[in-house]
Symmetry: C2
Subunit: 135 residues, 2 copies
C-alpha cells in the first residue's frame, strides 16, 4: 500500500503542475483544495523541495513552483523520494538493495524470482508516466 505521504505528495505536485501561470502555489491553497492536513503537507513539500523537484519562495505571495517541465519529471523519481523503494522486497530493489537475512541463495528464492518480474513491470509503468501525463 502506498503511504499517505506519497499519495498526498503526488496530488500536491500534480496540483502545482496544473497551474496555468508559473507563480508560486501556497501550501494552504493545496491543503484546502486537496483535503490534506496543512502541517503534514508542509513536511511533504519540504521533502520534494529538498529532492530538487520544487523551488520555493518565502514571504507574502510566496509558495512552491516546479523546477522542471512536467514532461521531464518521471513518476518513478517522485515515488522513490516519497515512498522509498519501488520493489516489494529489498533484495530486488535497484536503488535500495539489501540482502535478505533469511535467504542464503537469491537465485533459488521463489519470492525473489517473482518479485523481479513485478518490479520490472511496475518500473515500466512508472517510467512511462511523467507528471505531464497526470495533469
Amino acid at each position: 500500500m502506498l503511504s499517505k505521504k506519497t499519495k498526498y505528495g503526488i496530488k500536491a505536485i500534480t496540483f502545482i503542475a496544473r497551474q496555468e501561470d508559473k507563480s508560486p502555489v501556497q501550501i494552504a491553497t493545496i491543503s484546502k483544495s486537496e483535503n490534506i492536513s496543512h502541517k503534514f503537507l508542509e513536511s511533504i513539500l519540504l521533502t520534494l523541495r529538498k529532492s530538487g523537484f520544487l523551488g520555493s519562495k518565502k514571504g507574502k505571495g510566496g509558495g512552491y513552483y516546479l523546477l522542471k517541465e512536467p514532461r521531464d519529471i518521471l513518476m518513478t523519481d517522485i515515488i522513490r523520494v516519497l515512498e522509498g523503494p519501488i520493489a516489494m522486497v529489498p533484495c530486488v530493489s535497484l536503488n535500495y538493495y539489501e540482502k535478505c537475512d533469511d535467504c542464503p541463495d537469491e537465485d533459488a528464492c521463489s519470492v525473489h524470482k517473482l518479485m523481479i518480474q513485478v518490479r520490472d513491470n511496475t518500473l515500466q509503468v512508472l517510467k512511462n508516466n511523467t507528471l505531464a501525463d497526470l495533469t
Copy 2:
C-alpha cells in the same frame, strides 16, 4: 513492501510444492530449512489452510500438503490471502475496494489514474505465475 508474513508464506508453500512425494511436510522442517520462526510460520500455514490452499494432518507423521496441483494455484490468490489487496491504493482495488476519504472525484485523481496502470500490470504478472512456475 511485502510483509514478512507474505514472504514467508510464499517460501513455505513453494517448499511444500517442491516435495517429490505428497506426504505431509512438518512446520519444523520448513522452519529450519527456510530460517523462519517456528511459531510465526505456524500462524501463516494456518492461514493458508483456512484459505483452502493447504490440507493438514495432525499427530505423528502429520504436517501440511497441497490440496491442488501447483500449476492450478495462482500467485495472485496466495498474495491476496496473505497480504490483502494487491492494489497500492484502496480506490483501485478490485477485491478490497474502498473510497478515499479525501478524494471527491476518482476520475480526476492523478494517483488513481496512475495506480490503475500499476495494478493492471502487477496483476498480469501475478496471474501468469502459478506455484509451479516458482518451483
